[in-house]
C-alpha cells in the first residue's frame, strides 16, 4: 500500500511541474481520484499557489466592481510584485458590482481589500 503523501509535498511537486511548463491538470485530477482525495482539490490548489509564491511566482485573485483598466491592472501588478518580492505574477480577475469601486487582491497568506464596499463596511463597523 502506497504511503499517503502530505498535501504540502504534493503542492511542492506540482508547483515545480508547473514552473517546468508542464500541464498538470490531467495528472493532478487522476491522482486525486486515485487517492480518493478529490475533496481536497481546493485546498491543494491553494497549497500549490502558496508553493508557487515561495518560488517567486504569485497567483493573485483580483476582484473589482468593473473590468480593470490597463493602468489599474498595471498598478496592482506592480504593487503586488513589490509587496511580495515575486518575480512573476498571474492575476485571476473577476468582477463584482457589489464592491462599488476599488480593488481586492487576494494572494497566499494575505489580502488587500481596497474596495469601497470594504470601506463602507468599516464605516458601519465604527458604529458605537
Amino acid at each position: 500500500m502506497a504511503t499517503r503523501l502530505s498535501r504540502r509535498k504534493i503542492a511542492a511537486f506540482y508547483a515545480d511541474e508547473l514552473l517546468a511548463g508542464r500541464d498538470i491538470r490531467a495528472q493532478l485530477a487522476a491522482y486525486l481520484v486515485e487517492t480518493r482525495r478529490t475533496r481536497e482539490y481546493e485546498l491543494l490548489a491553494r497549497d500549490i499557489e502558496a508553493a508557487l509564491a515561495d518560488r517567486g511566482v504569485l497567483v493573485a485573485d483580483i476582484a473589482s466592481s468593473a473590468t480593470l483598466s490597463s493602468e489599474s491592472r498595471k498598478a496592482v501588478e506592480m504593487y503586488l510584485l513589490d509587496a511580495t518580492n515575486a518575480k512573476q505574477i498571474y492575476m485571476r480577475e473577476s468582477t463584482d458590482s457589489s464592491l462599488l469601486g476599488g480593488v481586492k487582491a487576494a494572494i497566499p497568506g494575505r489580502e488587500l481589500d481596497a474596495t469601497l464596499r470594504h470601506k463602507l463596511n468599516q464605516l458601519k463597523a465604527s458604529k458605537i
Partner: protein, 180 residues
Amino acid sequence: MEYVLTQFASTESTSDGGIFGALGIDITMLVLQAIAFLILVVLLGKFVYPVLIKAVDDRQEKIEESVKAAQAAEEKAESAQENIAALLKEARKEAKEIVTTAKDEATAMVEASDKKAKQRSEKIVADAHEQIEKDVIAARKALHNDTIELVALATEKVIGKTMSSNVDDKVIAAAVKEAN
C-alpha cells in the same frame, strides 16, 4: 355743816364701849362677821377657786396651744411659701431649660432637615445632570450611528450611479499608493 359735825360729836359722847363703841362697831358682830368671812374664804378656796383657776389654766393652756399652733402654722406657711417659691424657681428653671432644650432641638431639627433637604436637592440635581449626560451621550451615539448609516447608504447610492472607470482607476491608484 355745823349740824352734821355736832351730830357726830353728840353720838360719840353718848355711846359706851371705848373706841369701837365710839366708832359704832359691834365687836361681837365684827367677830362673827370675820368668822363668816373666813369660812367663806375657806369654802371659796376649797371649792370655787380651784375650779376657776383650773378653768383659767385650761383656757390659758388652750390659748398658748393655739398660739403655738398658729406660730407653727405660720412657720409652716412660711416654710410652704419658701418651698413653693423654691419649687416655682425650680419649675421656672426647668421650664426655661425645657424651652431652651426644645429650642435647641427645634433648631437642630430644622438644621438637620435643611441639610437633608439640601443633600436631597443636590442629589436630585446630580442625578438629573447624570441622566442628562447619559441621554446626551446616548443621543450623540444614536446620531453618530444614524449619520454613519445614512452616509453609508447615501455613499452607496451615489457611488452606484456615479462610478465610472475613470473614478475607479483613481480609487485603485489611491488605494495602491496608500498600501505602499
